[in-house]
């Protein structure tokens, strides 16, 4: 059988590139013909890749194409005109809001990539994701055949001997806190700096922070990090830039703990790498991080630097607890052995190749009205939740969309579930929901469900991250309600006014029924207007 892969860019050493190469070796070992097609590639990968432009010509009815999607690729037309079976492999897309204010190009590309995710749907026969968190978004986008593919890691690649010079330099009795990754806004390296500052000032003055990964000093985020380092004023922070495999081994060998405050991970390979190298992991539980950790290490739902610093201090001061953490991490790594993962990948892919993928109950794409109330489950007594209940009573055909409760795991079954007496579709938030005064986080899957839908959209709380992400997409089918007493963000207000105009209503806290009346009338008049227009 001919099973090929398509990727926008084949890079040397990044998680997606490694995964593509690993799948190719697996497919070839099972007796299939397998090539990698890409739009662009690193020089080091020149011999492993073919130009994506040639795929439509080379494809036949019997070929199978695995399409890796994680960023804007502009490959939808090419995929559409290619023959044979097509299966999507979704690595997740970083939410655009995480780049806002730092990287305009990345904001546009992430938004475009999410639109491509919707555009790909009619052209593929099934879709895989590397976590339930990502698979949930595929179901929200309307993909019917969705399955979770285990992430394969080449553990042998982490066995490089450490650079002796660097190891000698770092192994000097200091407590080393390590973060590995590119310094991009979504990784929140600034929060790593804040946690380390708290740790050094409150618990361990003889400590050092190692940030191993590329930092562009000329880019706004790189400039911000260097400024922040001066402002916070902790000592012994080392921005190491891009490091060799031996240097990275030295960093891990000397590390007391691995710290990640990233707000988005489709999977999170460095977390498992730290576990494999016997370094205890402290990670903020955003996106697919809790799934990757699998109960091992210390996953925190609090991002308060003082709280997280306590976890670093505990790992250093309590040897018994540290040993317990390390034992749990070893068990986690053992469950992801290459043989076990290869068998699981084979079973999952076989299903896709033979058209036996599990069928999901997709979100209906065309309810007449979408009631988007992110806090309906987590903050049931908030004025917007009360308004949502009132609206659902008056508009029984409407669909209510809300964030899942704190700590609830992602699921491929989105709903409806009865909450507070109302049928609600639940979506996993991109970050843990904080206590009440904190703003609600966004949710990529909820936003994707709304983008995939064609009904009228009512954004209950236009200052929420979900509403702000959707404002420009919903266009003329969007209505919004603003709670002036709870919102003070001028930029959010301006954006809501700009996109919704007269369809933006003010919440009357004293008389929720009056606001509901006004909204229902406005929705009805719009319906009548569109009938006349026809």
């Amino acid at each position: 059988m001919h099973i090929h892969q398509l990727v926008a860019r084949l890079a040397w050493g990044d998680a997606i590139g490694n995964q593509v190469r690993y799948l190719q070796s697996l497919l070839r070992s099972w007796g299939h013909t397998s090539e990698i097609y890409a739009e662009s590639w690193d020089d080091a990968c020149r011999d492993q890749v073919r130009s994506a432009k040639s795929y439509p010509r080379e494809s036949t009815r019997d070929t199978v194409l695995l399409i890796h999607h994680s960023f804007e690729s502009k490959q939808v037309p090419l995929i559409a005109r290619s023959r044979g079976r097509k299966l999507l492999v979704y690595h997740n897309i970083t939410p655009a809001r995480l780049f806002a204010g730092f990287d305009r190009g990345a904001v546009l590309s992430c938004d475009a990539a999410r639109l491509e995710l919707l555009a790909l749907r009619p052209h593929v026969d099934g879709a895989f994701a590397y976590s339930r968190f990502s698979a949930e978004e595929l179901v929200a986008a309307g993909y019917r055949h969705v399955d979770v593919l285990p992430f394969a890691i080449d553990w042998d690649a982490f066995d490089t001997p450490p650079d002796p010079a660097l190891l000698g330099e770092l192994d000097d009795g200091f407590s080393n806190i390590l973060f590995v990754g590119r310094a991009v806004p979504s990784k929140y390296v600034d929060d790593v700096l804040r946690v380390f500052t708290a740790y050094q000032r409150l618990y361990q003055p003889k400590s050092r922070l190692l940030v191993a990964g590329n930092i562009h000093r000329d880019a706004p985020y790189g400039g911000f990090l260097h400024g922040l380092k001066d402002l916070l004023g902790p000592e012994h922070i080392r921005f190491m830039g891009r490091v060799s495999a031996a240097q990275l081994s030295a960093c891990f060998a000397s590390a007391t703990a691995y710290l990640s405050m990233s707000r988005h991970e489709g999977f999170g390979v460095p977390l498992l790498e730290a576990m494999y190298r016997d370094v205890p992991v402290v990670a903020y539980g955003a996106a697919a991080v809790p799934e990757t950790m699998g109960g091992a290490g210390l996953t925190t739902l609090s991002r308060d630097p003082l709280d997280v610093a306590q976890l670093l201090a505990v790992l250093e001061r309590e040897p018994a607890l540290r040993q317990q953490v390390l034992a749990a991490q070893r068990a986690r790594v053992a469950s992801l052995s290459q043989e076990a993962v290869a068998a699981q990948v084979r079973t999952a892919l076989q299903g896709g190749l033979e058209g036996r993928m599990p069928e999901q109950a997709t979100v209906p794409a065309a309810p007449p009205v979408e009631l988007v109330c992110p806090g309906f489950v987590t903050r049931p007594d908030a004025p917007m939740s009360r308004l949502a209940r009132e609206l659902q009573r008056r508009l029984p055909e409407a669909r209510m969309l809300a964030l899942r409760a704190r700590g609830e795991e992602p699921s491929l079954s989105l709903g409806p579930q009865t909450t507070e007496g109302a049928p609600v579709w639940h979506f996993t938030p991109d970050q843990p929901v904080g206590p009440t005064p904190e703003p609600l986080p966004g949710s990529s899957s909820l936003e994707t469900a709304v983008r995939a839908s064609t009904g009228a959209v009512v954004l209950l709380g236009t200052d929420t991250a979900v509403a702000q992400a959707l404002l420009q997409d919903v266009g003329r089918r969007g209505w919004g309600v603003r709670d002036a007493a709870a919102s003070s963000d001028e930029t959010a207000i301006e954006s809501a006014r700009h996109h919704l105009g007269t369809r933006l209503l003010e919440l009357n806290r004293a008389d929720i029924h009056a606001t509901a009346d006004m909204l229902v009338r406005s929705l009805a008049s719009k319906k009548r207007g569109s009938r006349h227009a026809r």
Partner: protein
């Protein structure tokens, strides 16, 4: 750290939370100073607007299309306008092909300039925050040791 803020199976969240309770309690002054510094380091949301300096250049970046043809001349004017419109209508696809790379170059230059401007803005912001923080620390030192300022 509260147990409900932790996701861990072994050790349990309760055991980890109990271990954090055993840590030495930092002094209130130390904690307050740290909180103030951390709050000062938070970055206010930045509007995603284009830098004003580049708005005009941005409006002219796509050189494939020009303003609609007009003329103030009484008789020849309409003929010229018609000729220009016809020419544009007939040759626009070819114009687009010829100028496509120029448009890409213009967009790339605009993106690079935006990064430079935003980076400068970021540095200025960091400097201002750092000065403010330094002032606050100096004031705190003077408050803690009033005799020092008189020497």
């Amino acid at each position: 750290m509260h147990a409900e803020d932790l996701l861990t199976l072994d050790p349990t969240a309760q055991a980890v939370a109990a271990a954090t309770e055993r840590l030495p309690e930092p002094t209130t002054a130390m904690r307050d100073t740290l909180r103030r510094t951390l709050t000062a380091s938070l970055r206010a949301p930045v509007a995603g607007l284009w830098p004003a300096l580049l708005l005009e250049a941005r409006a002219k970046a796509d050189v494939r299309y020009v303003e609609p043809a007009t003329s103030h001349r009484p008789v020849v004017g309409p003929v010229l306008v018609f000729a220009k419109r016809t020419f544009r209508g007939a040759f626009q696809p070819f114009i687009n092909e010829v100028l496509r790379r120029q448009v890409h170059f213009n967009e790339a230059i605009l993106d690079a300039l935006t990064v430079v401007i935003e980076n400068q803005r970021e540095h200025a912001r960091s400097q201002a925050l750092w000065r403010r923080e330094l002032d606050a620390r100096l004031k705190q030192l003077e408050k803690d040791d009033p005799g020092a300022s008189s020497h």
